[in-house]
């Protein structure tokens, strides 16, 4: 069995009373105070997450753009220098390898940020797809540490620590030369919470200092350290997908309602299957579900027709802290995906009535 890994912030998590659990082979805090308090802090003020476990792969060379274009569903040719784009990598059968962020330095120099749970698999896939492209692909995940500072006060807090005008880093753009308290960082205005905020990448040696500086700078602004627990509740409320829940090797981006990030006028691995799916229509799709009876719908619970037949499954569900309702994302048969459709969720022995609703449970507060 593989040894659990620790990020460079492990001792810091213990210092802040982090409740450590295993996630994707890493020992990380589920929460420090409580999931709900940290969730609310991010929505109201700010929260800081250790996301050093994420993977980073550099793609450099003459054909970097062509190579990535072939690898991902989205059209990366439209990214301008210092832009970031969300995309997915698919298998030949249209199922998802992973979702990722594509950071473009220039059209011969990119940084891809991938999920911690998929680093080895993704990198092997990327190397396999190199073929004859003139490109170098390197896994630098172990050399990079990252924190995410998220919430309406994120910019105010981080601005105290740098001379770079953070308002110049607009939504889905990055600056690779931001000096945060003498430490060089890549800072992007990206995140996984539906709030304004930044993702800050730096070396392993710098990260503890950066964490402590940010905590100090934000102490009067309501900044709290935030763990994996609220990372999931926050992203769920704004319907951002989690690999292993809403997307995986057996779910296509179209079924996961991510068609916006699939540009079928570009060529990429898995495109043919997606074109066919679009032409023929999907057989199932990801929808929002609101429970009308008592109970909490959770990942893996069955979704049933009103007659009690299984029509799908809950991919993620919670009692939504910011919305105050018990809601879920579910992958269900196309016949039942219309808004307002009655369905049931099997919660242990009971069939709890529910209905199909918009996935926009909570309104995103991005700074655009």
């Amino acid at each position: 069995m593989e040894q659990s890994k620790r990020t460079a912030l492990y001792d810091t998590h213990k210092k802040y009373n982090g409740n450590i659990v295993d996630f994707a082979g890493f020992e990380l805090p589920l929460y420090y105070e409580s999931i709900l308090e940290e969730h609310n802090a991010v929505r109201k003020n700010a929260g800081m997450f250790d996301v050093s476990h994420m993977g980073e792969v550099t793609v450099k060379g003459e054909e970097a753009e062509k190579y990535i274009q072939n690898l991902v569903t989205n059209d990366i040719s439209v990214i301008t220098d210092n832009g970031v784009m969300y995309a997915l990598m698919c298998y030949e059968n249209g199922g998802v390898v992973d979702d990722l962020l594509v950071y473009k330095y220039t059209d011969t120099d990119y940084l891809l940020v991938i999920n911690a749970s998929n680093i080895e698999k993704d990198f092997n896939w990327m190397v396999e797809q190199k073929g004859s492209f003139n490109v170098e692909v390197k896994n630098i995940s172990d050399d990079i540490a990252e924190v995410a500072l998220q919430g309406p006060k994120a910019q105010e807090i981080l601005q105290k620590l740098t001379d770079t005008d953070l308002s110049s880093i607009t939504f889905f753009r990055f600056n690779e030369n931001v000096i945060v308290n003498n430490n060089k960082c890549i800072v992007s205005r990206t995140g996984y919470t539906g709030e304004d905020g930044f993702e800050i990448y730096t070396s392993l040696e710098n990260i503890v200092n950066i964490w402590e500086e940010i905590m100090e700078a934000g102490k009067d602004d309501g900044l709290k350290p935030a763990g994996l627990g609220c990372r999931d509740t926050l992203r769920f409320e704004v319907a951002l997908p989690l690999y292993g829940n809403e997307i995986d090797k057996d779910i296509t981006p179209l079924e996961a309602s991510l068609g916006y990030f699939v540009k079928l006028d570009t060529d990429f691995i898995g495109k043919d299957v997606l074109v066919k799916q679009k032409e023929q229509g999907l057989s199932r799709k990801l929808v929002g579900i609101e429970l009308l009876g008592k109970g909490i719908a959770r990942h893996g619970y069955d979704i049933l027709s009103p007659e009690g037949e299984k029509i799908g499954v809950v991919t993620t569900g919670y009692q939504s802290p910011s919305v105050g309702k018990t809601v879920a994302l579910g992958l269900i048969d196309m016949d039942y995906t219309k808004m307002g459709t009655d369905v049931n969720v099997r919660i242990r022995k009971k069939q709890v009535p529910a209905k199909v609703v918009s996935k926009k449970f909570y309104k995103k507060n991005y700074s655009k």
Partner: protein
């Protein structure tokens, strides 16, 4: 960890307080702390019959649903309906915010449970 002197405890961190032929059942301070903030409690129904170690309730935190098991067998005579509106009250006081009261099937089953001192030692392991 708070432990009540005259209660009895199980390895799954349920507690029982005996009152003649009836008993009151809940989850311990250790349990509520481990679960984190409780957001939902699925209560049994009055007249439900359970044997010792039957799952009779579910206590849900943000992250997960935990089955709660009967420390001793009996029939439900009262349920704590306050938990429907304020499930988090278990976190605030797990001993006065019980889950249900039962009529005991077999009082001798209490003998197999841990007393306060034994439970205290058990929690320390």
């Amino acid at each position: 960890m708070k432990i009540m002197e005259d209660y009895y405890y199980t390895k799954n961190h349920e507690w029982v307080k005996v009152d003649g032929d009836t008993a009151i059942v809940g989850v311990s301070d250790y349990a509520q702390h481990a679960m984190g903030q409780i957001v939902y409690v699925e209560l049994p129904e009055i007249d439900d019959e359970f044997a010792k170690e039957d799952a009779f309730s579910v206590v849900e935190s943000v992250k997960a649903a935990s089955d709660i098991y009967m420390p001793v067998g009996g029939t439900v005579v009262e349920i704590n309906e306050d938990l429907e509106d304020e499930p988090e009250s278990i976190n605030a006081d797990p001993y006065s915010n019980f889950i249900c009261k039962i009529e005991l099937a077999d009082k001798t089953e209490i003998d197999n449970l841990m007393n306060a001192e034994e439970y205290n030692d058990f929690c320390k392991e």
